[in-house]
Symmetry: C2
Subunit: 316 residues, 2 copies
Amino acid sequence: MHKLPKLTSRHVDRRNYPPGVAYMDGQYLPIQEAKLSILDYGFLHSDATYDVVHVWKGAFFRLGDHLDRFFRGMTELHMSIPYDKAEVADILHNCVALSGFKNAYVEFICTRGTSPNFSRDPRDAENRFVAFVIPFGSVANKEQMERGLHIAVTDVLRIPPSSVDPTVKNYHWLDMVKALYAAYELGADTAVLLDANGNVSEGPGFNIFAVKDGVVSTPDLGVLLGITRQTIFDLCAEMGIECHAQDIAVEDLKSADEVFVTSTAGGVMPVSQMDRQPIGGAREVGLLTKRMMALYWQIHEDDKYRNAISYPGSAE
Amino acid sequence: MHKLPKLTSRHVDRRNYPPGVAYMDGQYLPIQEAKLSILDYGFLHSDATYDVVHVWKGAFFRLGDHLDRFFRGMTELHMSIPYDKAEVADILHNCVALSGFKNAYVEFICTRGTSPNFSRDPRDAENRFVAFVIPFGSVANKEQMERGLHIAVTDVLRIPPSSVDPTVKNYHWLDMVKALYAAYELGADTAVLLDANGNVSEGPGFNIFAVKDGVVSTPDLGVLLGITRQTIFDLCAEMGIECHAQDIAVEDLKSADEVFVTSTAGGVMPVSQMDRQPIGGAREVGLLTKRMMALYWQIHEDDKYRNAISYPGSAE
């Protein structure tokens, strides 16, 4: 006779998590307590959309743009939550204030949720809103920010728009993860994936830009329309620099004078090697890239992009 | 001054879940207590593989095949867990025995997990094993099993193998969900997706088969290699029925004499309408389909496919 183990009444998770605060099911929680039912279709079918906004020096950056994209994504996926944009902004604000973080990574998510009878019909599900705040993080670490990222061009194709709309921010990352492991094999820090025509698309968590003869370009179709990507367009327009969203062949990326990547997680990040070859023949971060990096952080002071956090005990 | 809400020390989830038992982090739990950290990359990057085996009349069906596929998937994704196949089988057995369910849906999952510093490098993560048991469920409900499923052929392309390997069972379902909503718009019960060449691929949770002039066929590439699909091959071989894995054009599917779909969740399920047109010009479930349905349940009695559960208090 097989001896059966006993049921434990409540799950205990002994893993370590970064510090942070989350919101779900109407509750503000220490992040290690924020746990999603394993039956939620946001997990079991990756049926979810999300967005990430960052807080820098005590203020959200371009929060309105992130909220717009998030709400558009929910509409596209036939999802709804019982909060409007102002209410979501309030929840995110509270999470950050409770965390006390002056620089933070703020993710907010809508999952398909569950239906009590585990129906497979997504229309039967009650959608679920989750938000969390952890310390600000970056695609590139400190060393990589200084020396520039080393990127491998992999032959992994980014999931095409005919399957999944990349402009609805989603968690379908197995192509990204496959590309990452391929890049590690080649000694690179991260990867860029291709589109169905063999052109450059995007990488794990970032858009990619090439600079050639003073003109900036980034892939147009089949990529996330990143808010940091948009910020580059805005900065270029202000500075009178030509900037195009267009197809970029792998060879054009490799022969660029400068390459950089953009993400809410890290901002503008330099690339110094592509497939082990130095970008622009040099080993230093390019001048236009450096200028973009500086300007990107500078416009964080601009009131039109800022929403300040009221931290507890602060006079603000 | 903004009034801040208070932190709750522990998450309370008031939603209703189906009855069931789960295993995670070394604990056997009532299913409503089985909750995954929202920071797990199995959720945030859908970086996970899984399998589903069913229990019928107190025994697993083809458990070994499901375990083989699951362990192969983990290897492909560079994941590992501290259990071998026999130990996973033991955990699944215990979950079922604790649930008491004689007919059950048993899902087991390996997620990328987390790393304490929330590193974006998947190599830093500690992978996580989760399993759960809920009552047996089906892609087709009782009415649909009797009248046959009504399927819409959508123009949604299944995520191609050049992006994500469909033979590694995964949770990338947004293409499936999009196709489902398109099917509902057309008054159908479910959908079939196309491959990049415009041929038939698979649907949400099932493989699809066509029968024409006594010959059975199912798509070959870019689809999950379902265990129920394999069972059809096995049954056809035993019965001397020709069965091929090959490209199937949409027109060939529509002009088939019979169509059925297969899934661990439901077994062999008849299809009676495709894009509102009756399959084979008839309104009844086809004879070969009926025979396959009967045989499928019949071979559940075969010892070579069965692993019996030792329920507590039973003499077995």
